[in-house]
Symmetry: C2
Subunit: 362 residues, 2 copies
């Protein structure tokens, strides 16, 4: 349909999107904004970003392999994994590229609006226990996690691979998850096993996990070099790792189809949404109903867990006319969401505020 | 981001897509093409088209109401529905707009590529039994099904409504479904209750079903007037109802990210896919590996059920170079998939073939 071929590192200043970007949008699902009303996102409403095809893993032969700089090589099938100590945890996950569609210029890649965040309950066994059984050798520096999904990116035929430092991998709350929301993982979410690293952007939570390799040198694979704040392809820049403070609002009122404009009746309305901050906690959410001219504090709901988003609400008296609503979160380290989009070369790490436009009718 | 406001009945000859179309693509999920390898689509991989917000239905007070031209008004809560006779059935569902993105000119609406088809197992009770208890009066002509989802379309503030003829509603296989793939419906698929009319396009399978009203006059609501083959907004045209014969292929080889081009190694490869035809059966699937110059019959897999897609496969000897692969299905009534896209005013009812481009490497 379009002759243009997408490649990483290309940008556009156009407001319009290519056929390939639309293809990506359909393969990679967003969470509808009203999903912000639910503390736990239903599995089929959870956002999804897969680089390549969803692999079909045959669990009659599948084993998780732990190899490399370890005293004991370990193979574990699914039933062996299920016999290990069990943890269950709500974790908010966000794609590092969430909000890319609002960047100008726009990096050509998955054109997320603000849909790439969700919270699920993950069940599995702590990675730490498995690594302790493997017994890392003294020269161990990093751990490479490999998924069963294979494809081509940056010119390389590869399986999906990300690494973690030993310190990060040995955190008590990093889990080898075989259940999502109380049921075995669905294929598109990584069946049979997915790494869950609470607080990190989605790319670190390797799906279809098949290999854990302990290495003594820093790993610089394709997926390590993409998720960076950089001035360009030649600059290594800084890795994007843990999720930055952010908030979103469930748009009030009702939608117009197909424009998705919002209409609301005048009167009192409870604005509600969620805020999250990776490894940090949410300390404040402010709401503006006049496009950022004035701000008021929202009420924070009880915490669902250390790594889960926090609900908030704010009472608003809606008056007829057009209004621009914004929420802005602050985390426990004093980081505040920026009022402008954070434009980066690959479009990762943006935590700028979202604007919700509503038309209030009498 | 873009000033253009979408409205039904507008079209574009551009190859590029508006911000609003991308928003729709993220809200309304496609089935990744490799989902064609699975006989039953996992719930979170099933395609999704919601016109407006997903409503939060409170089942502590929710009741299905059957009213209008009946002898007995009936109210049924979820536990009462679960006590009625149970049926479970695999049903292939497809959005009437599937493939809209390939139309030229392109109607401005949900810009589906070929993602809007899936098959789930639906469990519920036959509608017929409930209607018999209600006892339709002699003047009953149609039945209006109303969902709890509310929004604005064609300038009207409305709940989603579609009607069926009495004959169609009384079919043995039309069900009031409360489970999808063996679990309660997820919110985005219509929790707590969805109408399933096997063989019809998705718009008839009303989600969040709350009211069934028997009427004595033809219903011409907004959702009845949109799903039509028409020459324009002033022409009623012909209703699009049951799913036309169609087939798709799971693209062989591996994907390039983010362009989604396909690469494949030379040698023998089993091409596989699914074909479906609404109320009709699949009698033949042909495959072309030379962009339609020559055709060969594929092998059909066993049927999963009367209203479910049929698997097929075809053995291909892939030679180096670029190839355009096509599948074309024929149904039990002799209808054959057209080789060109069927361009209609609202972009509904297209069952044209899909082209899969692959680059075969030595």
């Amino acid at each position: 349909m379009a002759d243009e071929i997408l490649s990483e590192g290309s940008h556009t200043t156009e407001d319009t999107f290519s056929f390939q970007e639309v293809q990506l949008a359909f393969r990679n699902r967003g969470m509808p904004a009203e999903g912000l009303c639910l503390p736990i996102t239903p599995t089929g409403m959870h956002y999804l970003l897969n680089h390549w095809d969803i692999p079909a893993v045959d669990t009659s032969t599948w084993q998780l392999k732990i190899t490399g700089h370890v005293e004991n090589t370990i193979n574990l099938d699914l039933s062996a994994l299920r016999k290990l100590p069990v943890v269950k945890m709500p974790v908010t996950m966000e794609c590092a590229g969430n909000g890319r569609a609002y960047m100008k210029p726009r990096p050509i890649n998955q054109p997320w609006t603000h849909d790439a965040v969700s919270t699920a309950e993950w069940t599995g066994t702590p990675l730490k226990g498995v690594l302790e059984k493997a017994a890392l050798t003294e020269d161990a520096l990093e751990i490479i996690f490999t998924g069963a999904d294979r494809g081509i990116q940056s010119g390389q035929d590869q399986y999906y691979q990300r690494s973690l430092s030993i310190a990060e991998a040995m955190r008590d709350d990093v889990i080898l998850a075989y259940e999502m929301n109380g049921a075995p993982l669905e294929p598109q979410h990584g069946y049979p096993l997915r790494l869950i690293v609470p607080g990190w952007y989605g790319m670190t939570n390797v799906k279809w996990l098949s290999d854990i390799e302990v290495v003594s040198e820093a790993f610089n694979g394709v997926q390590m070099m993409f998720y960076r704040e950089t001035s360009g392809a030649g600059d290594a820049g800084t890795a994007i790792e843990t999720i930055k403070v952010r908030s979103l609002m469930a748009p009030p009122g009702i939608a117009v189809f197909p424009s998705l404009e919002r209409q609301l009746e005048a009167g009192p309305v409870t604005l509600t949404g969620r805020a999250w901050a990776g490894k940090n906690q949410i300390s404040r959410v402010e709401v503006s109903t006049d496009n950022g001219t004035s701000w008021n504090d929202a009420s924070l709901h009880e915490s669902l867990g250390k790594f889960a988003w926090r609900g908030w609400n704010y009472q608003w008296q809606a008056t007829p006319g057009k209004h621009t609503l914004i929420s802005r979160a602050t985390d426990s380290e004093g980081n505040v969401q920026p009022l402008e989009q954070v434009v980066t070369f690959y479009g990762v790490g943006n935590n700028g505020i979202a604007r919700v436009e509503v038309n209030v009718i009498p």
